[in-house]
Point group: C2
Chain length 334, copies 2
Amino acid sequence: MEANLERMAAFFRGVPAKLRPHFKNHKCPDLAARQLGAGAIGITCATLREAECLVHHGIRSVVLANEIVDAAKIRRFVELTRSADAIVCVDNEMIAGDLARVARDRKTQVSVLVDVDVGLHRCGLPPGEAVVRLARSVAEKGLRFRGLMGYEGHVLRKPPGPEKEEAAAAAMRPLMESRARLEQMGMAVEIVSVGGTGTYAISGSYPGVTEIQAGSYLLMDTDYRKCCTDFDPALTVLTTVLSKTEDERIVVDVGLKTLSCERGIPAVKDLAGVATRRLTAEHGIIDIQDPAVPLQVGDRIEMWVHYSDATVNLHERIYGVRNGCVEEVFRVEG
Amino acid sequence: MEANLERMAAFFRGVPAKLRPHFKNHKCPDLAARQLGAGAIGITCATLREAECLVHHGIRSVVLANEIVDAAKIRRFVELTRSADAIVCVDNEMIAGDLARVARDRKTQVSVLVDVDVGLHRCGLPPGEAVVRLARSVAEKGLRFRGLMGYEGHVLRKPPGPEKEEAAAAAMRPLMESRARLEQMGMAVEIVSVGGTGTYAISGSYPGVTEIQAGSYLLMDTDYRKCCTDFDPALTVLTTVLSKTEDERIVVDVGLKTLSCERGIPAVKDLAGVATRRLTAEHGIIDIQDPAVPLQVGDRIEMWVHYSDATVNLHERIYGVRNGCVEEVFRVEG
């Protein structure tokens, strides 16, 4: 984990863009503090609850890289802006109006990024006229327009190479066109927030990008590792062998309620002669390929986390291990 | 939910086998209490933590339908048997010895079922000699042998029909042969615990089965519904529309961290003209098939839970709704 932290920090010492790591991956305020200590300018998060957790833990610069639309949540977000530089995304005129109204009532100012759909086709406005219109409108309503967000989530997991670089550039280009048009109108675009662990180097070097939201790089997982070899998987789940046949299979006490299979089947760490067959709700079934594999009921084995976001989401603590000893316990509070 | 509860209870009024519903599905002590009120003879569970939760909530008859092998967990389980008829599964001579030793030290008696692999190929001994040997051995060690467990998990999701019936019978037959051999040796086989929601009627009618572990029937889900139409899905997740394009897609604030996709993509409830495209970690992306669909940002829609076990596992509460009003809050404590 510390090697990943340092490797990413080193990259950002060499480019104008800054790192604002995504909290959704590990949800641990203590890990966010480590990221800030290594040079991150603030934290990105996915939910209002995560933003509240970060501010509660004293983190004063937070981008909520998502829309919030519910009236109660808008009030909670506006409240948050009293104690932190909290910025939220908008892609809708009506919601921008709601935010502005609550901010006015509470006599505070709320900062927003306009969310641009750069090809992921999830939230966000199509780049161009709609973005410019909403950016001007939020400013007119009294919100503080801080810039643009464009998450190229559809590019992250492409294998490295020219095709990936072109796809990332194709996502950044229209974002920068919107940026240029806004600046021509005299609107400052302080923030252009993009990227993830799969594109941090490409998008983080793209002219005009001010910050990168990468999060998975810190703990990594074996799914991300397939497309991004700059960082090493650092996250496993410790399991106990519950059952064993003579030479056909072992069963461990970890299933998909503990170790997400949403993106594929987790592998066993550092043990030759075995291969995960499948996970059911509470069990992991592992084929014995070499009958000499030295495993008995009660033995502990580690399994790689294949999808860290969804696995951390199932746990309350992450144990920091150095040289085989637990050195620190990170609470999953987000 | 109440209709499912009553439909299952009615079936068990007509057969000798009893229902001991599986707690792993809903993890709510208050729902377990409803099941007991409707005639269940006790509760089945998957983990030691669930067993402790049930006993803590005053449930006095619990089958832990799983192995426990860790020394600390064995001590916790033995402690539990002081205040409840708690029964655990074994498939290993050494672990049976550990259990017996701790029980002896604590001056208590521990009840066990011998776990039989009836074709799922997860935990359990192959039927026949190995089962008979372990059953005799646990009794010799001073454990209380209560019977056999054989979970035909590989049959549950087959479509109804003669093939499924034959597969269930093929799983029950060797279990009953082991039972007969044990009884010939003078060993009482008080419990034969099998089954799930997909086989409750077939296995629950099979001669010699004493109890059925079905759990999913109560809340049901749209995955189980494909192979079992006796019960109606009763579980949804309430979502809010976060973002909407004119006629291409809406995005809701529920992703796979909230609504499991481990067995497939959840559908939207009671709303024509839309279809779920996919769920990412925090978002659900829904195609608009009919541009007239009356949905705006901020609207609430319900999504069906496709896999209830893994979805309940992501939540702290289940809201009981009758005629559109929240009538009861069930705490997910397991």
